[in-house]
């Protein structure tokens, strides 16, 4: 449903700094808005994002309500070894989504 889009270079030279881009579809409801019936819409946001490279955590983000809908992130890491870069998003109401990409380092 919330199909994450990720962009990781397929191959890189050892030691290169690579850019990782992620986008996940999520309304990021702030909990500060009222519905047409005058009732406060409860908060429903992604609170945490974690990225691991071959199991080692390389980047973590705590999201708050001020992060725009469909959270987008670009960050960097050093390509050290071939393997898997995995992503996890967790949030309110038991929201959890994962994605991963393979990278070949030569």
């Amino acid at each position: 449903m919330s199909a994450p889009l990720i962009n990781v270079p397929a191959r890189a030279k050892r030691g290169d700094v690579i850019a990782i881009k992620t986008l996940i579809s999520h309304e990021m409801e702030t909990g500060f808005r009222y519905g047409t019936n005058g009732v406060l819409i409860p908060r429903n946001i992604i609170t945490e994002f974690v990225c691991t490279y071959n199991g080692e955590e390389i980047f973590r983000a705590d999201f708050h309500q001020a992060v725009a809908a469909n959270p987008f992130l670009t960050f960097y890491t050093v390509a050290t070894a071939s393997g898997t870069i995995a992503f996890t998003w967790t949030g309110d109401n038991g929201f959890s989504e994962t994605a991963s990409a393979n990278i070949t380092v030569e």
Binding site: V17, E29, T30, F32, R33, Y34, G35, T36, N37, V39, I41, Y53, E56, I58, F59, R60, A61, D62, F63, H64, Q65, A66, V67, A68, A69, P71, F72, L73, T74, F75, Y76, T77, V78, T80
Partner: protein, 164 residues
């Protein structure tokens, strides 16, 4: 025909300009009336204190890239980059972003390490008003550095109500 065209155009332009001024005049108090919970600069200072503790925050090293004029406060792209060699002995541990006037002062907090290679990240935030945005970086030696940008927002986030 040509003469008529040149004569009517300025009038139409004036009329449109007048109408847009009127709309802006009517719109401003409406926005104020709709706005509810709002943080204040003091709330932001408290939020920053919760993150940095008693440490002093010095300006410099951090670069917060944010458009000075924002048309749509619902999605404002921004980049924070920190001047750091990102070696195991000298690196950026965390970067936090705060705003002054949204209902909640925190925007995002990220943790990174020497493994990142480059101390920089990009994301998108919501802004409820023309306000100040502050980015604070925590370095591996325990020092805190900051940068701030004042942005003008023409269409604020959070003003429209959603469908439940």
């Amino acid at each position: 025909m040509m003469d008529r065209g040149t004569e009517t155009n300025p009038t139409r332009r004036k009329l449109l300009f007048g109408a847009s001024c009127l709309a802006a005049g009517l719109g401003a108090p409406l926005l104020l009336a709709v706005r509810r919970a709002q943080a204040t600069p003091a709330t932001m200072a408290t939020a920053i204190r919760q993150v940095v503790g008693e440490a002093s925050v010095k300006p410099g090293k951090v670069k917060l890239d944010l458009p000075p004029l924002v048309e749509n406060g619902n999605t404002v792209p921004f980049t924070v980059s920190v001047d750091s060699p990102m070696t195991p002995s000298d690196y950026v541990k965390a970067i936090h972003v705060f705003n002054e006037k949204n209902p909640q002062s925190n925007v995002i907090g990220v943790r990174l390490g020497p493994r990142a290679g480059r101390a920089s990240f990009t994301s998108r935030m919501r802004l409820a008003d023309s306000e100040k945005v502050v980015a604070i970086a925590e370095l591996s030696d325990g020092s805190f550095w900051s940068d701030s940008v004042d942005v003008v927002v023409t269409i604020a986030a959070c003003v429209e109500d959603g469908i439940p």
